[in-house]
């Protein structure tokens, strides 16, 4: 057996109860094993434990051990661990050490003490097989989230360890790119006999290639293990119960009433790439009706996030944007931020305070400056209860899982009084229950007369929840009917 977890119990520092409880797990050479579970069930914690990053200074293993080839991972040095196991982080934005992907690949391979010639050879291999040439030398801060995820995947695959752990590897990728990557992973598994342990919400995507699917429950132990494609239908109910499977119904599209007044209008709009040389959208003329939900769907890296950032920051474009018939550039900064709120995809810089409660209280005070602190706190707790974050009042926002951080940010935006709310990938990293909650809140905002623009690479979400679905491709925005 390549990997063996025996009766593992792990508790974070300052936590009252263990996140992982009496967990047993194993993996053999060349397998693809999936671990699914709802948001906050401890999937990422388990991934960190298996990669040897935890316990470290973050917590303690109360019981049990993680063994690779009859050797405990806890005692190994980082570069010794790396030959056994490598981890691809969920948050690709903070998973690089170097400026460009090429440097990152060099960095990783140098740590393995490989010869320069072999380093070059491996890099060329990965560039060729993963089609990285278009952004291999670009600064990692300038590429899209989807490309970052491919880059993170490449920097793990290039190591060729015995076990690779992927934490939500396709969260930022569109379906086409995700499928291509999946085929590549399957090929690598067969060729190199590497074991893949994948943390993912979307179980069905993996069923064809997975040797085992396990479902992690909210109590930190497995609800069901050993599920395969053949036995999946028997256990499907467990996956529904844990909010892992998304039962889209594909309702027929209802076309939005265009007689409503226009809140935003694009005139000769050209979206510029961050390098200021290339364009991402060419000469768009489009009107957005007031009180509608606009879903922008498109492949990874087409420029969805850049488009939202350009609108919110009023920069990075040519042409005109009119908001309420007034030129957007004529709005002063203070007026602009009162009119429009933007929920960003990357949550690594958005929180001000070191407690979730304080963060929310600050946000409420911003909307109601005269409100007493005690009232604000009560209101904040009420709002946090709605999104099931009431258990984290005293936690640091950055200690929450990525999905929970985004949920917190969305809940703050839902309480605001902005006319236009822009949300970048609202469903990323969320289980089905949370996804449904978020989208219901968005519909409630619409019913209050507010306009919501959201981007997604998940066509099902765009189809299900938007009044107007725009397909962003080939530098064009096309309405899907």
């Amino acid at each position: 057996m390549l990997l063996e977890i025996n009766n593992l119990t792990f508790t974070y520092n300052n936590a009252n109860s263990p996140v992982i409880k009496n967990l047993n797990y194993h993996a053999n050479e060349g397998e693809i094993r999936i671990i699914a579970g709802s948001s906050g069930s401890g999937k990422s914690t388990l991934a960190y434990l298996m990669a040897g990053i935890y316990p470290g200074k973050f917590g303690s293993i109360d019981e049990g051990d993680i063994i690779y080839n009859n050797e405990s991972i806890v005692g190994l040095l980082p570069y010794q661990r790396l030959t056994n196991v490598a981890l691809m982080f969920q948050n690709s934005a903070t998973s690089f050490c170097m400026r460009t992907l090429r440097e990152e690949l060099h960095f990783v391979l140098e740590n393995l003490l490989l010869e320069e010639e072999l380093i070059e050879k491996r890099i060329m291999e990965v560039i060729h097989s993963m089609h990285l040439a278009s952004f291999i030398d670009m600064p990692l801060t300038e590429i899209s989230e989807g490309q970052k995820q491919i880059a993170a995947l490449a920097s793990v695959l290039v190591i060729k360890p015995r076990v690779i752990i992927l934490d939500e590897p396709f969260a930022h990728m569109d379906d086409v790119t995700a499928d291509k990557m999946l085929v590549y992973i399957h090929k690598i598994r067969r060729k190199e006999k590497i074991t893949f342990i994948v943390i993912d919400h979307l179980v069905e995507r993996w069923l064809d290639v997975a040797d085992d699917v396990s479902l992690l429950g909210k109590d930190g132990s497995f609800v069901v293990t050993g599920v395969t494609k053949g036995s999946y239908h028997v256990h499907e109910k467990h996956f529904y119960d844990q909010g892992v499977v998304v039962p889209y119904k594909h309702k027929p599209r209802v076309y939005h009433d265009r007689s409503a007044s226009t809140i935003m209008r694009f005139e000769n709009f050209v979206l510029l790439h961050k390098n200021k040389r290339d364009t991402l959208l060419d000469y768009i003329d489009y009107s957005i009706p007031k009180g509608s939900i606009i879903g922008i769907y498109g492949r990874s890296g087409v420029g969805k996030t850049t488009l939202l950032e350009a609108i919110a920051a009023n920069s990075g474009y040519e042409g005109n944007i009119y908001v309420d018939s007034e030129l957007w550039s004529n709005y002063k900064i203070k007026e602009r931020i009162k009119k429009m709120s933007f929920v960003v995809q990357n949550t690594s810089d958005v929180f001000l305070r070191d407690r979730v409660l304080d963060e929310f209280v600050d946000a409420i005070l911003l909307i109601n400056p005269g409100m007493k602190i005690e009232e604000c706190a009560l209101k904040a707790i009420e709002e946090l209860k709605k999104c099931h974050l009431e258990g984290y009042l005293r936690s640091n926002p950055y200690k929450l899982s990525i999905g929970q951080q985004r949920l917190l940010l969305l809940q703050i935006a839902f309480c605001s009084k902005h006319d236009i709310i822009i949300v970048d990938e609202p469903t990323y990293g969320q289980d089905y229950d949370t996804l449904t909650y978020i989208m219901k809140q968005i519909i409630a905002l619409k019913e209050e007369g507010r306009t919501i623009i959201f981007t997604t690479h998940n066509m099902d979400v765009a189809r299900e929840y938007s009044d107007i679905m725009l397909h962003y491709h080939d530098k064009r925005l096309e309405e899907v009917r």
Binding site: A51, I53, G56, L77, P78, Y79, R81, L82, A86, L87, F89, T94, S95, F96, C97, M98, R99, E103, H106, F107, V108, E110, N111, L112, L113, E116, I119, S155, I159, A312, A313, I333, K334, I337, K338, S341, F342, V343, V344, S348, D349, V350, L352, D354, A363, L366, Y398, I412, A413, S416, H418
Partner: protein, 242 residues
């Protein structure tokens, strides 16, 4: 340029750069000459040999000694010229400009090579492994460099992010400053985890893979520096300037 410079110990590269700039001002004496000779000897040996200087010396000791000794002696004379400018009055003014510009130009080229071929990670690693500084000292140094280099970008990013949430604090605010400091602290510690997950630790001997590419500015800027200094010295000496 040979690859061996890129593989040269990053901490020593930085140290050499600092010494190159500072030493001639500190030691306008024989000691300064000897020290600068050693440094120059080391730099040129790396620049013009395919292998590490130790291997080169082993192969052909006498020729190496002669070549590098000559280069070192000439360069040390050039490097201590800020003092010469002050203390020697019997050479003509045009030489002042030439010597000083060679000193500045040399520092520019070497500084650029150091910055282009070394990353902060390697700098930190090298300080610990090769200079045998304690992990605490090396890491504090690395953190402060990371902090300084990222501060402006972080400040702008946080300001922009807060504006997306409807919080506008103006161009400068202590509130943002506090957030930036906290964020950087957090990011650096996140970086530790990422570095560790990618096998980076102080037990791993590191080499630098980045090579220095010579571009047109490597000729234009030193030439500009030389012309500037010569020009200004002529102007000063003739009384047209100052």
């Amino acid at each position: 340029m040979s690859k061996s410079f890129a593989y040269f110990n990053p901490a020593l590269k930085f140290l050499t750069l600092i010494l190159m700039v500072v030493l001639p001002f500190i030691f306008p004496t024989l000691l300064g000459e000897i020290l600068t000779s050693c440094i120059i000897f080391r730099i040129f040996s790396i620049l013009y040999s395919e292998h590490d200087v130790k291997n080169q010396l082993k192969r052909n000791f006498i020729i190496c000694l002669l070549v590098f000794g000559c280069i070192g002696a000439i360069s040390s004379y050039i490097l201590k010229l800020p003092e010469v400018i002050y203390y020697t009055y019997n050479i003509t003014y045009i030489y002042y400009g030439v010597f000083v510009s060679l000193y500045v130009g040399n520092c520019y080229v070497y500084g650029k090579m150091v910055m282009q071929t070394t990353t902060l990670f390697e700098f930190w690693s090298s300080m610990h492994q090769n200079l045998h500084l304690s992990k605490f000292v090396a890491y504090s140094c690395y953190r402060s460099m990371l902090f300084i280099t990222n501060f402006k970008a972080e400040y702008d990013l946080v300001n922009r992010m807060l504006m997306t949430r409807g919080i506008y604090t103006g161009k400068f605010s202590f509130r943002i400053l506090e957030v930036v400091v906290n964020n950087l602290k957090r990011k650096i510690s996140e970086n530790d985890v990422v570095m560790e997950s990618k096998g980076f630790d102080h037990h791993t001997p590191k080499g630098n893979y980045k090579t220095y590419t010579i571009d047109v500015y490597d000729f234009i800027i030193p030439t500009g520096i030389i012309l500037c200094f010569i020009g200004s010295f002529i102007l000063v000496k003739r009384g047209w300037l100052l």
